[in-house]
Symmetry: D2
Subunit: 359 residues, 4 copies
Amino acid sequence: MSGNSFGTIFKLSTFGESHGKAIGGVIEGCPSGLSIDEKFIQDELNRRRPGQSEITSPRNEKDQVELLSGISEGISTGTPIGFIIRNEDQQSKDYDHLNDAFRPGHADFTYLKKYGLRDHKGGGRSSARETISRIVGGAIAKLILKESGVSIKAFVKQVGEIKLDKGYQELDISKTEESIVRCPDPIIATEMEKLILKAKEDGDSVGGIIQCVIDNVPAGLGEPVFNKLHAQLGHAMLGINAVKGFEFGRGFESVSMKGSEFNDQFVKEGDRIITKTNHSGGIQGGISNGMPIFFNVAFKPVSTIMQDQTSVNYRGDEMVLKGKGRHDPCVLPRAVPIVESMAAMVIADLLLISRTNRI
Amino acid sequence: MSGNSFGTIFKLSTFGESHGKAIGGVIEGCPSGLSIDEKFIQDELNRRRPGQSEITSPRNEKDQVELLSGISEGISTGTPIGFIIRNEDQQSKDYDHLNDAFRPGHADFTYLKKYGLRDHKGGGRSSARETISRIVGGAIAKLILKESGVSIKAFVKQVGEIKLDKGYQELDISKTEESIVRCPDPIIATEMEKLILKAKEDGDSVGGIIQCVIDNVPAGLGEPVFNKLHAQLGHAMLGINAVKGFEFGRGFESVSMKGSEFNDQFVKEGDRIITKTNHSGGIQGGISNGMPIFFNVAFKPVSTIMQDQTSVNYRGDEMVLKGKGRHDPCVLPRAVPIVESMAAMVIADLLLISRTNRI
Amino acid sequence: MSGNSFGTIFKLSTFGESHGKAIGGVIEGCPSGLSIDEKFIQDELNRRRPGQSEITSPRNEKDQVELLSGISEGISTGTPIGFIIRNEDQQSKDYDHLNDAFRPGHADFTYLKKYGLRDHKGGGRSSARETISRIVGGAIAKLILKESGVSIKAFVKQVGEIKLDKGYQELDISKTEESIVRCPDPIIATEMEKLILKAKEDGDSVGGIIQCVIDNVPAGLGEPVFNKLHAQLGHAMLGINAVKGFEFGRGFESVSMKGSEFNDQFVKEGDRIITKTNHSGGIQGGISNGMPIFFNVAFKPVSTIMQDQTSVNYRGDEMVLKGKGRHDPCVLPRAVPIVESMAAMVIADLLLISRTNRI
Amino acid sequence: MSGNSFGTIFKLSTFGESHGKAIGGVIEGCPSGLSIDEKFIQDELNRRRPGQSEITSPRNEKDQVELLSGISEGISTGTPIGFIIRNEDQQSKDYDHLNDAFRPGHADFTYLKKYGLRDHKGGGRSSARETISRIVGGAIAKLILKESGVSIKAFVKQVGEIKLDKGYQELDISKTEESIVRCPDPIIATEMEKLILKAKEDGDSVGGIIQCVIDNVPAGLGEPVFNKLHAQLGHAMLGINAVKGFEFGRGFESVSMKGSEFNDQFVKEGDRIITKTNHSGGIQGGISNGMPIFFNVAFKPVSTIMQDQTSVNYRGDEMVLKGKGRHDPCVLPRAVPIVESMAAMVIADLLLISRTNRI
């Protein structure tokens, strides 16, 4: 519980700072007999990579993963999969001016309070570069889920005040990757891009919402009472950098609904029992009911901005921080695969655990 | 990870169905030397008890806890504290008509899908009666936190569309317990009560939002990257029955803020470094920064309503469900101590773990 | 990890002191659909009960278990099974003279050092009365294993210097319960009884060895590298009061064997591949190979003796401790079901986990 | 619980096969502020390295560790320490003849049964090469323990039938490293070497016993009832390749002692309360009592021998296995640092956990 492991049976343990030698981890509990498609893993990493478009950080990192164990002739052997990604484009001197400053919105102050010292280079462990390891774990989880037909797709639903105000059922999510902002609606996507470029121009940053839809989850996943499916998903999402909120199904909207409106009615469709509406978001009593699972993740605006900000240093002296470095004005586009990865690890773990539910 | 344990060092494991013999649990990791105030624990249970006011379920359950171990002469010994609460006012025949129905919004269908069979009486394990055990764990966690001066106070911020639209700083939270709806603003509280009574009259139910404020948390709690303080809190809250969303600090609002607006500026105040604003909600990089922690928890309207609803039974035959039984039209007032309890367990656990952070 | 939980999927959490109100626990992860034979559970408890014969403690405790949840109409529902056993025959005054003495061989001193205070009555949590909860967990684990045909049988192999010097293959283990000492060889059993009665007469105590044989375990159980099957078994056994050693297969004898002697040769027998000899004790590389698993557990002589002993009190003053109270001169006969119970929980847990090993 | 993680607060997760790209792991929960002496870590690895003397395998592996994170300017930062050791001297063709053979005494058969497939090269994950990662974790644990003055020293006590028949108190353990066999008595050491060389000459192998002594452990470590200090140590030791038994204090000898002989008498010595004898091995009731902790670990003879052996292949056909490859005739000398490493991780973890025992 030192916070760097995630999962019970399918479990990822990670390490690595933004400006250290490497990022990496260990994936335990990947079942044997799985085809490990290395190209797919790298493709997933590329979706998270900086420098992929004009609205992301211009840092140039190849983020090339090296898989070190647990695979023989392209097939998982059941033993742990170790992996590393070397850090390359480290411009540590970018951070020299930060040596003893507490950057507003960052974790400099809290890491120092926690550990009594801190690695000041580029945010150290609190850098979002850490999420690379989550992509690797998530990609392998997706390969497991593919065997069961489960699909996980996230997209950008809101940037600043630009909203994609449609239900997931009305969208063609397959178009998400066609826009650099990862919004499946091309018109809204263009507006979002403009807003992000405007923020960049202003040396400012913007937040937003990612929605994730999980299709074809078998009914029966989730471990109440404390590890309800949505509690696990919420835990997973809230652990991603810059996330400030999580809701599933009708979420915060449901608070002003009546029970008679909210309750999803069970009906028979062919052989299956489904619900007519899906306000529950595919989860009832903390267990999947076979309907699509959907949830929203709220991201605050990026803390690093290219404007002067007032702060204090370690000694408490007031100081002015200049905006410097190479950063994203909006993390949402690159956070889409991270949301999917965390969701995939949750579902894969619960799917494996569910095999132990009955005698 | 079968989902009935919560915590790492301070850990609660629970058992019990609504209509079985008893509810109870084991609290491990309570440090030795703590004064165990049994009256306080019972008072906390009474805050959750049904029948406490005209806006809650009229069920009459004493919910009397019996502490069975781990305490000698009123002091914790460091060994596990076992406890039970006998179930008393079981009217199982209330549920006979439900034998093979899937109640809309309930976990009947999902438990059946998960386990292949289910205890149909009163929701079984999925009943909110399970949360009694959380109150006992939470009360002991509060006693631990009291030693460190940490205080945890929750209140009802919204019922249906009636909102208490003020920041926690502007409220006198000490007044929360003066209203039966547990809203610290007497005027809004009255409106909320009316709305709840109206729903009751209509045989319907309403949802709402609980806000929780944690004061005096030392800086340095939280275990990134996966167990960030807010990820643990979110996990804890999302595990409570009927919860659909969680946000901390400015939460979902932050998505339409600019970085330059959102970033909390560090300033020196006396000996301490604090932030001028608290949009972060007391947590940065997943670690407490010493400012008040605050978060919102969204509850959907109660699933059980006193109206006829269409559903299907186990065989998929359409049927009509009559509204029967004794239920709350709104769970918010009784959920306030549950939110506090879960928060207390998270903070107590992280406080103990933080003792291991430095050499 | 506060030490009162055991297992990963099938998990037992326990509480209770010898002279408190009750002993009990929570069993999580029992699969749904299992017939819970309450009489069998009570029979297992009776095998551990004091007062069962002239060679055990004359304390009279009924040790009647009450199952509180997780079972509906005799079938497990998949939700946790809570249980308690009330303490009855507490003669706490037996312990008044011990208030501030450190009894030799007991945990008085170490509990005080650990927790700064201790419950002095009857050993508190360190009393072997705690093992009652293990029997309940073990009995349910045995019911799970019965479904897979796995059988677990332990017996007393040595008391003091009286040894049953035969391999498990040469014994009729079904006769174990015919002797009060639980040794399957009637002649050796009689000698053991005499030795125990002699020790009792002398106000002294004796140790011994229990052997456990597990038949029909499917090949493939065990989770290397750290949770090898025998490492889990060893952990389980070494957690039982008074245990000083654990060995499996040829154990300590193997150190003076040559590799050419020790290696078990694989041969085909019908459809199965088996080993000609079983020096490995049914486990290779930490994983079961389908052969019988067998291991030995060494128990030291009981610490409580009816002789005067010199010790010191809390202040370090020398004092003489009189032998008083009602104790077993030898724990081995009553420890047989405890060894079986712990083994059953290990195998049941690994059996459930093994369902997640392959895609 | 897929078996590749060890520890609760101080936790090691490992990966790697003998003939894959690399071995490595993640160390979580190392407290911040610790000086990380990289030379010490490498020295510990060198103690385990093959090719260090004429009685070990002639394989030539540098086993050079690369620390990848969690350290800034030589000081631990509190974040996880990732590390890898590249595999170098892989002669996979040595194993080509083994493709479909079940080597006697090895884990080929059981891995295949568990996972349905296996990596046949050099034992894959079941190779003792995996223990390299344990040395890295153990070295860092030793650095933590050094801060508390705890010292851990293991030595070879027996090889085949050659025994060092003295108590740890009578030995000058500081001389252990002076002999290639790691026995502190030079005369016995020479005999052991001869026996090992004789086994090598015969193409055979021998087993033995390692004793480990832990000095200066504070009283109060250990987490009963399931995680007693010796249960954790036993778990740790039994997880090491080739281990068949574990005993602490007087261990198996204690079974033929009387209680009146075995009980260690408490006496005051200066300010401290100690025990006159130490039959308990420094642990009472599962908790350290401040006396030296000592325990024995039994190793079977190495499975790989240079003689022809009869076995079967995957299809069950009888076949003859030729003795080939480069192996140790006796693992004891190289296992000494592994025993110490596992013990160090157990004690470091319990030391950190003990900080949470009292209010």
